[in-house]
């Protein structure tokens, strides 16, 4: 039988065995570490030793929420409007500042020392939760809605700055370099070579942040930073859970509406922005 015959080739074609250590790529290794961490954490966390009837307690507590007291809808509407206003302004200021910080944190655009500095700054900002930002802002500016705007702006920068820098880094820099090659100055290369590609992603992240900020703005009022939180706090203090339920329902309505709308917008703009989108669409 000649070496080229199909039969001889078939006899030689044996699937080589993969040693176990070759399967330990980054994905599998991190997954394994995570599972080990779950097992470890599960053995460390302990509940209350007391013999409590959890379901009965929960049932009694939730029963206080019903029926919701709809007499506070008008009052809630006004506070809800303030919450949305806080979120809109905070997102607006955060977008502006994050664009600058995001550019500085993008490895493909900024020098290394600036990238390291900006990323460190973003890490510090992200470490502090929104409620703590609100406490800081209230301490500095007093208990009002403006403190809420400042707190959420700072909180949002931590996320938007990171997302924007990643959006800038995802852009193929060859286009901007070729524009520089034909005499475009840095601003023109950015405006015509980088910005059009990054814009859909940036807007998509911004809409997500707005939606997120509306949820956050409902909470920061707990420490006096304006919006619905103030009302929630008062109802909680006086155990008016039926009124508390009305506020929650109002938040749920707004957030669900915004979620539906933003999801549609974000899907559309990121699909439109994808260079891999089929021509037929």
């Amino acid at each position: 039988m000649s070496p080229e015959s199909p039969n001889s080739r078939k006899a030689d074609s044996r699937l080589p065995e993969t040693p176990w250590y070759q399967r330990l790529n980054l994905l599998n290794t991190t997954l394994l570490i995570f599972l080990l961490a779950v097992v470890f954490s599960g053995t460390q966390i302990e509940g209350n030793e007391r013999d409590l009837d959890v379901w009965q307690n929960l049932g009694r507590f939730l029963a206080d929420f019903f029926p919701p007291d709809l007499s506070v809808v008008g009052q809630t509407g006004a506070a809800l409007l303030e919450t949305v206003e806080i979120a809109i302004l905070a997102t607006f200021f955060a977008i502006g500042l994050s664009l600058v910080i995001g550019l500085g944190a993008a490895q493909t655009i900024a020098p290394k020392w600036l990238v390291v500095t900006m990323r460190m700054l973003l890490n510090v900002i992200r470490t502090i939760p929104s409620l703590i930002w609100a406490v800081i802002a209230v301490a500095a500016m007093g208990a009002n809605a403006l403190a809420g705007v400042v707190a959420l702006t700072l909180y949002s920068i931590g996320y938007l700055g990171k997302f924007f820098s990643e959006a800038f880094e995802s852009v193929d820099m060859k286009v901007a370099r070729s524009l520089r090659g034909i005499g475009a100055d840095p601003l023109q290369a950015f405006q015509y070579g980088i910005w059009p590609h990054a814009k859909p992603l940036i807007w998509s992240h911004s809409i997500w942040m707005l939606e997120y900020n509306i949820r956050s703005a409902s909470i920061i009022g707990y420490v006096g930073a304006g919006g619905l939180g103030l009302q929630l706090h008062a109802y909680q203090e006086f155990h008016q859970w039926d009124r508390f339920a009305t506020v929650l329902i109002c938040i749920l309505c707004v957030v669900t509406l915004l979620d539906l709308l933003s999801e549609r917008i974000r899907r559309r703009i990121t699909r439109r922005g994808s260079p891999n989108r089929p021509i037929s669409e």
Partner: protein, 236 residues
């Protein structure tokens, strides 16, 4: 206008070409030919200054400048890259208009281009058969259409020299002839030299003055052959 003295390029220890001399004069249309992987694109990059040759030197003499290395005057070159390098999420008109960015201050182009320029760019898109929807994004166009937009951008730039890396590889016979015809016209009417990587023998015969072929087996065995008789000095 463009002169290369003894240039060579080595990649991973292998010479793609060596001891290559070339003199290009106004109005010359030079075709770079040879099998795939022989180093045509690399040679083109060395000539336009995006790559530094391993040995030898390239100088360019433009109308208002002394002889300088190409990387110093690249803004005067109209380059059609093999990967095209269009802005995918910008519309066709903007992509073509980008050819003129070097002529305006960024404050002038911050809010778009003047109407007259937009009209000119649109005219060029129409000439190349992609004017039907100038507001469509480049990423939504087919490969051939994108190639024509890249050529339109280079033409709109009104450069002093053209470098094109396989500018008609995705085009049908009609548009390939149209694109190469426009480049030939730039060489004939405006005496702008054109250096173009081409594969099709008919295109080379029809449009080029000179053909420089690289040899995959011998980096020093490159050959320049004159296709059209010229009154200018010989290229080699």
């Amino acid at each position: 206008m463009l002169s290369a003295q003894g240039i060579g390029f080595q990649r991973s220890g292998r010479w793609l070409f060596r001891k290559l001399d070339l003199n290009l004069y106004p109005g010359d249309f030079l075709a770079l030919v040879g099998p795939s992987g022989v180093g045509k694109s690399t040679l083109l990059s060395c000539l336009c200054g995006t790559l530094e040759p391993t040995e030898g030197s390239v100088t360019v003499h433009l109308s208002k400048e002394n002889s300088v290395p190409p990387k110093n005057v690249r803004r005067h070159f109209g380059i059609v890259y093999q990967e095209l390098q269009l802005t995918p999420n910008a519309d066709l008109l903007t992509n073509v208009l980008c050819g003129r960015l070097g002529r305006y201050h960024s404050l002038r182009t911050l809010f778009g281009f003047p109407k007259k320029l937009r009209q000119e760019a649109y005219q060029l898109l129409c000439e190349l058969g992609v004017g039907e929807n100038p507001r469509k994004w480049a990423s939504h166009m087919s490969g051939g259409e994108k190639q024509r937009i890249a050529v339109a951008r280079a033409l709109f730039q009104e450069p002093e020299l053209y470098f094109a890396d396989e500018p008609v590889s995705s085009l049908d016979a009609y548009y390939a002839g149209r694109v190469l015809g426009l480049l030939r016209q730039e060489a004939d009417e405006k005496t702008k030299p054109v250096i173009c990587v081409l594969h099709n023998a008919e295109h080379i015969q029809r449009f080029a003055d000179l053909a420089l072929s690289l040899n995959p087996n011998d980096p020093e065995a490159h050959k320049i052959r004159r296709i059209r008789p010229s009154e200018k000095e010989p290229a080699l």
